[in-house]
Amino acid sequence: MRRYLAGIGTMVGLELRQRVRGVAWYVLLGVFVTLVGAVTLLLWLASGGRDSGGWLYSLIVYFILLLGTLVTPALSGNAINGERDAGTLATTQVTLIRTSQLVLGKFLAAWVSSLGFLVASIPFIVVAVLLGDLSALTIATSAIVLAAELGFVAAIGVSLSGIVTRPLFSVTLTYLVVAALSVGTLIAFGLLGAVTRSQVQLSTIGVSTATYDETTGAASSLVCAPPVMSTYSVQRFDPYWSILAANPYVIIADAAPGSFTANGGPNDLFSTVSLGVRSAQRAPALSVVNNMCEAAANGDVVPSNPPSARELYDSAVPSWFVGLGVQLVLAAGALLWAWSRTRTPARRLAAGSRVA
């Protein structure tokens, strides 16, 4: 077992030295630090330095996720087939390194290098903590889930590089997977919701006769009119909210504990995003009674009292662990597939590929 782990360690070391830790990576890290620094400064100026730690922190985490998901496919998407093209894969395969060590080592190296962004943003996270209004639980959960998301992208990238023969194609495929999860889920959610419509039965009960007190204006001896029926259609998003559960940005937001202001509004970007997704869980009422007669009797003009953001958030089902669980299964399955495609002695070779 120790020997097995040492082999993985050798592979990680090789991978970090050979492929990942290049000039491009440091340039990206520099660009990233500059960007996050600018955002921190602007946010600090905009808030006047008060109680904006939650917003700043959630923005930084989304930045890391954005850059991590943009860079990791490039670092991991040709890990195996790129080495095959360079003629160095087979020289590793003839050693005592096993295929599983090779695949896992490459995956861990790609993951570690994407986590570099998280490490580089620690100073700004400290600033966010100093700005206040940021709970330790939020930091812990979002950092762990962020790391898991970057790991998922790294696993998909390395796996595709083992499954697909051509490096360019596997890198592109990894980007497509990232795009499908980050943007595609939003598009699918929006389009499906827009084309799914339900008819709402609206019955309006008006006032037929009433006498009004001349001084107070209060109604008395009300006679309600018979209900008037009408229908209109609404878009239905509630059957599709689970699509958003696969979105990395949603997963991070949903996993972080909700943070709300005293009057029930969201207090950081995570809560805002999560609130939006959780609101989509509520099915619209399909028969609505608009009882103006009763309202008039109660002297109440506004008949209903809509739930606050906090109440909506708390009444809905959290979905982040479903998304994370599905991604975990996908990542493990993909790595397994890559392992079986990279195994030696090879029985079947993909068309146009060579062993060494």
Binding site: R3, A6, G7, T10, G13, L14, R17, Q18, R19, G22, E83, A86, G87, T88, L89, A90, T91, T92, Q93, V94, T95, L96, I97, T344, P345, A346, R347, L349, A351, V355, A356
Partner: protein, 306 residues
């Protein structure tokens, strides 16, 4: 349990293309065996199956006594492979490359460092030890690749085109190194297109054509066929006149820029011819086979004629 390499009835196809039809041969410890064949004969496929990278469709293989398919780890412990493609980790230095390769064979950190130093000396890459491998010349990469194959002191060496790109001095060093390794009891299988080069080191040969190894009888027969000898003399005209006078040699004489060529069957006839020429008073300066043993046999087997 016999060491070395034993291959019986090896077959391998890719899609509809049969790379290996029926390869059968043995390579013994202490011997350098040449693997000879034209492009596309299946040499690299054969090397890859021996190197535990490719599973055969049929046939039996033993490398250092183990089956590369079912006992790959055992074979890998004892086998060093130098690929025909010179891949190297471009960003890593020569020393780091060898250290990491040693670590891949479970050597400890310190042992790996020591082994790297030994190998750098062995293949004379000292001045380039700290350079990234991407700046190495082709010949230097070739030597690095050989060093990598030797990291774990294997008893069986599979060398695919080891001398291509080497300058004459490096070629001589490689030849000496291979002879020393064979003397130490290692089994060496070496493939090359440059047959004259193999002639200098190999003491046994496997001829591979269209996925089939030539049988021992076919090889023996080929060696007896007419073979061209090159003759040079102080007075070329005198030599030409003397040869032309012989009825026996009619139609077997040609000339090229290097001298006169005569086709002769077997060494006995060559000796007789030399004796005859000297007796006629021709001042011979050079009398040798125009092509090496391997090339002669190879050309004959592949129907090229000699």
């Amino acid at each position: 349990m016999s060491d070395g390499i034993r291959v019986t009835g090896l077959q391998r196809s890719f899609g509809g293309i049969h790379a290996l039809h029926d390869a059968t041969f043995e390579a013994h410890p202490g011997s350098i065996t040449a693997l000879v064949g034209p492009n596309g004969a299946g040499k690299t496929t054969l090397m890859l199956t021996l190197a535990t990278l490719l599973a055969p469709d049929a046939g039996e293989i033993r490398v250092a006594g183990f089956d590369p398919v079912t006992e790959a780890a055992q074979v890998r412990m004892r086998m060093g492979w130098m690929p025909d493609i010179l891949g190297s980790w471009a960003a890593l230095s020569v020393r780091t490359t060898l250290e990491i390769t040693a670590r891949m064979y479970h050597l400890g950190r310190r042992a790996a460092g020591e082994r790297a130093d030994e190998l750098i000396d062995l293949v004379a890459l000292g001045p380039h030890a700290e350079q990234p491998t991407r700046v190495l010349s082709r010949g230097q990469k070739q030597r690095l690749s050989l060093a990598r194959a030797l990291v774990h002191d294997p008893s069986v060496l599979l060398l695919d085109e080891p001398a291509s790109g080497l300058d004459p001095a490096a070629r001589i060093r490689l030849r000496l190194l291979l002879k020393k390794l064979a003397f130490d009891g290692k089994t060496i299988l070496i493939s090359s297109h440059v047959l004259s080069e193999l002639d200098e080191v190999a003491d046994a040969a496997v001829y591979l054509d269209e996925g089939r190894t030539a049988t021992a009888e076919a090889v023996a027969l080929a060696k007896e066929r007419l073979r061209t000898w090159r003759i040079r003399a102080v007075n070329e005209d005198r030599l030409a006149a003397t040869l032309a006078a012989s009825e026996e040699l009619a139609g077997r004489i040609s000339t090229d820029n290097l001298g006169t060529l005569v086709a002769v069957a077997g060494e006995r006839e060559a000796a007789a011819l030399l004796t005859g020429l000297v007796a006629e008073g021709v001042e011979i300066t050079s009398f040798a086979p125009a092509v090496g043993d391997l090339e002669h046999t190879f050309l004959d087997l592949s129907g090229g004629g000699a």
